[in-house]
């Protein structure tokens, strides 16, 4: 059984045909829509090599709706001519006829009719000739009969200008026998259905082959943001290493916690308007821990705790200025200050990953806000070797094993080291993070014991790559 009656007929005709047949001609012969034949061609094509079909486009002239009307009833000018009786007709009356206005001027220029303006009851129209030839109607009838080629180019274009003809492009198939031609093809099933399973009819049905090179349908699901997936991975690493998460849910910070507490002097370039977002409202911090503030002030301006200090006039107003924190180290300072106030001292491992803000103009390599990853360990007698050891473990968990360390300068760590890893793709050492031991001028005013060292490191989340899909 073939796929519908049209496909059936197509196959039988094709069997008898010499070479092949045209889809449009077949449609005309069968008296069906061309689209029905095209459908049959397509469904036969889907069965494999039964038939071959070659797409051809042919141009054809067709009548417009108005053209059809004229072919049937004559041109407007002919209709005007016919409606004028030998004794003539009042022009006003003629104009009221359906073809009147269009046909009148054309019939006048064809000199079929004339107007007598001297008639008693207004202008009157009379025939000039007894009979005429309606060429427009004759030509349109030729086109309707499929003989448009008999018209001269000029005649066709005149009719097209009058919007009686249009040229249409017809896409037809030239159908010929395929390598597996047969008139008895049976329809293949697209999919297994519940009915087939219950009736067992699947046993004697052929099934359409799948196209395995097509893409599947993506699962309909939500997604996590790629960068925040990396954040999750980093949290996981810290948790695996026994680090406790610090609270960082305060984007607004005072200059005191963001800079002064970290022993960053008040004229430091990072405190410039160009680099930091300061606040207009609330412009200043309402409360600062004044005892501690005084110790910080003294350390900056006069030194102490074994330090020379920066020897400048430290201003409280400067410390009160509110800003959008420029690093999460401000939150680390708060956490260490809380730790210092708890007696006796207990060792800690802290981490945080959160947003920080810099007064940048956005472009491809600058963001005004990004995420900082930070790790902090405070214990008695921590060394630079410990810092490097922790960093080695941390980066090993990220799959980075080749590390080296470069001396660097950070205002609040000393010794400081930049962490470099060997990038296999770039074939060079690239900086992956910054680290160091917090300065005693930062830790001692907080009240931490003198022999406690605090190692810390930081990196930017935005520079990390997306983790691979986790395996269960």
């Amino acid at each position: 059984m073939a796929d519908g009656p049209v496909a059936d007929v197509l196959l039988r005709r094709l069997e008898a045909a010499d070479g092949g047949l045209d889809s449009a001609e077949l449609a005309a012969e069968l008296g069906v829509e061309h689209q029905a034949v095209v459908g049959a061609v397509k469904s036969l094509q889907a069965l494999g090599e039964i038939i071959e079909a070659e797409l051809r486009s042919t141009k054809r002239w067709e009548l417009t709706a108005e053209g059809e009307e004229i072919a049937r009833e004559g041109s407007h000018e002919a209709r005007v001519f016919r409606s004028v009786p030998p004794e003539g007709l009042a022009q006003s009356e003629l104009m009221r006829l359906p073809s009147g206005k269009v046909g009148f001027s054309k019939a006048m220029s064809n000199k079929w009719i004339r107007v007598d303006k001297s008639a008693a009851d207004g202008p009157r129209v009379f025939r000039v000739v007894d009979s005429m030839e309606d060429d427009v109607q004759r030509r349109l009838q030729l086109v309707r009969g499929g003989q448009a080629e008999k018209l001269a180019e000029k005649e066709r274009s005149e009719l097209r200008k009058r919007k009686l003809l249009t040229e249409v492009t017809l896409k037809t198939y030239w159908v010929s026998k395929g390598s597996a031609f047969s008139t008895s093809v049976s329809k293949q099933e697209a999919e297994l259905s519940p009915e087939m399973i219950s009736s067992g009819s699947w046993r004697d049905r052929p099934f359409k082959p799948y196209n395995f090179s097509a893409h599947g349908v993506l699962p309909d699901s939500g997604h996590l943001h790629p960068l925040l997936k990396v954040r999750t991975q980093f949290r996981q690493i810290f948790l695996e290493m026994g680090f406790t998460e610090m609270p960082t849910d305060n984007f607004i910070e005072s200059s005191f916690w963001n800079f002064d507490a970290l022993f960053q002097p008040q004229q430091h370039p990072a405190r410039d308007q160009h680099d930091t977002f300061f606040l207009q409202d609330p412009a200043e911090a309402l409360q600062l821990p004044m005892d501690y503030v005084h110790r910080v002030k003294r350390t900056h301006s006069q030194g102490g705790y074994g330090s020379q200090g920066y020897k400048y006039t430290w201003k409280l107003d400067e410390a009160r200025k509110n800003l959008l924190r420029t690093h999460t180290t401000a939150a680390s300072a708060r956490a260490l200050y809380r730790l210092a106030r708890k007696k006796p001292f207990t060792p800690i491992k802290y981490f945080s990953i959160d947003r920080v803000f810099r007064n940048e103009t956005l472009d491809a390599t600058h963001l005004a806000e990004f995420h900082q990853i930070e790790g902090v360990v405070a214990d008695h007698g921590l060394t630079l070797g410990h810092l490097m050891g922790v960093l080695r473990e941390f980066f090993t968990k990220l799959g980075i094993t080749q590390l080296r360390f470069k001396p660097a300068y950070n205002p609040y760590t000393e010794p400081s080291m930049e962490v470099f890893s060997y990038h296999q793709g770039l074939k060079k050492w690239v900086e992956v993070g910054n680290s160091g031991l917090f300065r005693p001028e930062m830790l001692l005013p907080m009240g931490l014991p003198e022999n406690v060292s605090v190692i810390a490191w930081g990196l930017s989340l935005e520079r990390q790559r997306e983790p691979p899909v986790p395996r269960p």
Binding site: G242, P247, T248, D249, L279, L286, L384, G385, Y409, P415
Partner: protein, 589 residues
């Protein structure tokens, strides 16, 4: 981090050997420098202005070296070479000496008019110096580097160097009305008043950045010699009269500023670096500065300070076990002349005037570690035992994020800063009603305020993704910021959850269903009972009338959900109906 550009061949000549680029890069890394770029004047010009302009420019190889921001002694070729040669133990660190002149000491008298604008000045003389073109260029370049860094773009300190032989002391540092200051400045051919100069320099690409320091002051600082010749109008420009040239033999250096400590450091750095070219190497002739209170001081200070650090402290901080003698040797290689004294565990370190960055024992520890070689330090793991805890708010956030994605919503990450319009006008709210935190110095309108709601960020994300197939379902769990006078800084964050549904139909039931799912996950039952949640008809300017409800959970209002008002949709350049939910999740901790 300042970048110093030096001619490679000149550098190698001074170092007494050549290096391959890789070898030199390695040496820099070890010492804490970074060989940032290998280039030439020609390459720089062609990169910035095109090949045509670069024609004829020098193609001498330049090394651009990044120097740590606190190492002012490495900001010129002379300092870099000295630092590296001492590090490699090819030379000993020089001893810088201040000497009194044979004749009369040069005097700089500060008048009290300077008090309100630039109260401090220091000075010194480099006697019998010999410049060459390269030395001269380096001298000018060092002043520029210092101006840009420690001098904070001349605001804290400004440097002037003068041909002493063209002047006649004593000098007076005073402040005058700009209309009363008239002189021929550097590289100009006629005299101008200070007022005229300030106008001329408004279009000078280099000097226009410094004008603001004195522009609106009634009096401008100015230095005269005893004949009324103007040496300089700090911090803007020097006079042309005392300009130094390749033939200058005696240089008078003055540093004026608002930070006395930094002025002294800057003067020390210049004279220690360039006294190398004086007839008596590394000696600097003193100058006397008389302050308005009559007290007089002699500069440069060139102070050597002694610090005492125990060897075991260094070993303990670095994590190494070196003998005190070895540690002293390591420190000496960092220009910190050291010796073991006392009980054999005590190291006495001499901090030279070039090392103003050494202010604490920890700075000495770092230098010992650098000389030891960071990468030679044995890595060990601390024995610190701790139990990890998540920050509860972040733990809750992580759990909810995954379930929101499982519910078919896609996570967005949007900026915490936005324009006033985003959180107010576009949502039909007056900015004063938002309690928003305002930024005083944003560079663009995109960063005027911290967001008070997550909704605008999600709507902007949708607007940027309008071409994606509908429906668009987005969420974000992140912080918003509002003013709160009960907090020390006067503001606080709240952790919000926001979700939007954007489709041809408003989909209120979808957003409502999401709320139901969230409450199910949080183990909050429906109903008004204590601990339950309900939604009640409400209204809000952002919502379509009659299509807004307030969410109450555990006895408090936590947010709203509803169909967005068409005005809101239009203002965010969207065209489809949209419903949203935004709640505070902190009550569920």
């Amino acid at each position: 981090m300042p970048t110093v550009s030096v001619k490679r061949d000149l550098l190698f000549k001074a170092l007494g050997r050549t290096y391959t680029d890789e070898e030199f890069d390695e040496l820099c890394f070890e010492f804490g420098l970074e060989l940032d770029e290998i280039t030439s004047e020609k390459e720089i010009i062609s990169k910035e202005q095109g090949d045509k302009k670069a024609e004829g420019a020098s193609d001498v190889v330049l090394y651009k070296i990044d120097v740590p921001a606190n190492r002012y002694d490495l900001l010129c070729l002379e300092g870099l070479v000295r630092g590296l040669q001492v590090f490699k133990e090819r030379i000993k660190a020089p001893l810088y000496k201040r000497v009194m002149p044979n004749g009369e000491i040069q005097k700089l008298i500060i008048t009290e008019e300077t008090a309100k604008i630039r109260p401090y000045a220091v000075a010194a003389v480099l006697r019998n110096i010999k410049f060459t073109k390269d030395r001269y260029d380096s001298f000018i370049e060092l002043q520029e580097k210092l101006h840009q860094n420690i001098c904070r773009k001349r605001a804290l300190v400004a440097i002037g160097a003068h041909d002493l032989d063209s002047l006649s002391g004593p000098f007076t540092f005073t402040a005058k009305r700009p209309s009363d200051i008239k002189f021929k400045p550097l590289s100009k051919t006629k005299e101008y008043t200070a007022c005229e100069l300030m106008n001329i320099y408004k279009t000078d690409n280099h000097l226009k950045h410094y004008l603001h320091i004195i522009e609106n002051k009634p009096l401008y600082p100015v230095i005269y010699d005893s004949n009324g010749v103007i040496l300089s109008m700090p911090p803007i420009i020097n006079g042309n009269h005392s300009k130094i040239t390749l033939n200058t033999r005696n240089v008078f250096i003055e540093c004026t500023g608002t930070d006395f400590t930094k002025a002294k450091i800057v003067l020390d750095i210049i004279v220690t670096m360039f006294s190398e070219y004086c007839e008596n190497q590394f000696t600097v002739e003193a100058a006397e500065v008389v302050f308005p209170n009559g007290k007089s001081y002699t500069f440069p200070e060139l102070a050597y300070r002694k610090e005492m650090v125990r060897a075991d402290l260094i070993n303990k901080k670095v994590g190494i076990r070196e003998t005190p003698e070895n540690l002293a040797k390591l420190l000496t290689r960092m220009c910190l002349k050291s010796e073991v004294i006392g009980d054999g565990n005590q190291i006495e370190i001499e901090i030279p005037p070039t090392r103003a960055d050494i202010i604490h024992a920890c700075d000495i520890v770092e230098d010992a570690a650098i000389a030891y070689g960071y990468n030679n330090i044995q890595m060990t793991l601390p024995k610190t035992y701790t139990i990890a805890n998540q920050f509860p708010l972040n733990k809750l956030t992580e759990l909810l994020r995954h379930d929101m994605a499982a519910a078919g919503f896609t996570e967005a990450l949007t900026f915490a800063l936005c324009s006033q319009e985003d959180i107010a006008d576009k949502l039909g709210v007056d900015i004063s009603a938002t309690k928003a935190v305002h930024i005083s110095n944003p560079k663009t309108a995109e960063f005027q305020v911290a967001r008070t709601t997550l909704l605008p960020g999600l709507l902007k994300t949708i607007a940027a993704n309008r071409k994606m197939p509908l429906p668009l379902k987005l969420f974000e769990i992140s912080d918003i910021v509002v003013k709160d006078s009960s907090r020390d800084v006067g503001a606080r964050n709240y952790r919000h959850l926001c979700a939007v549904y954007y489709n041809k139909n408003p989909g209120f039931e979808i957003i409502h269903g999401l709320l139901d799912r969230i409450m199910q996950l949080l183990d909050v039952p429906p109903g008004e009972k204590k601990g339950g949640y309900v939604i009640k008809a409400s209204e809000g300017p952002a919502f379509f009338p009659g299509r807004c409800a307030e969410v109450f959970a555990r006895g408090q209002s936590i947010g709203k959900l509803g169909v967005l008002h068409p005005d809101v949709i239009t203002k965010f350049e969207l065209t489809m109906p949209c419903s949203s939910l935004e709640i505070n999740i902190e009550p569920f901790l």
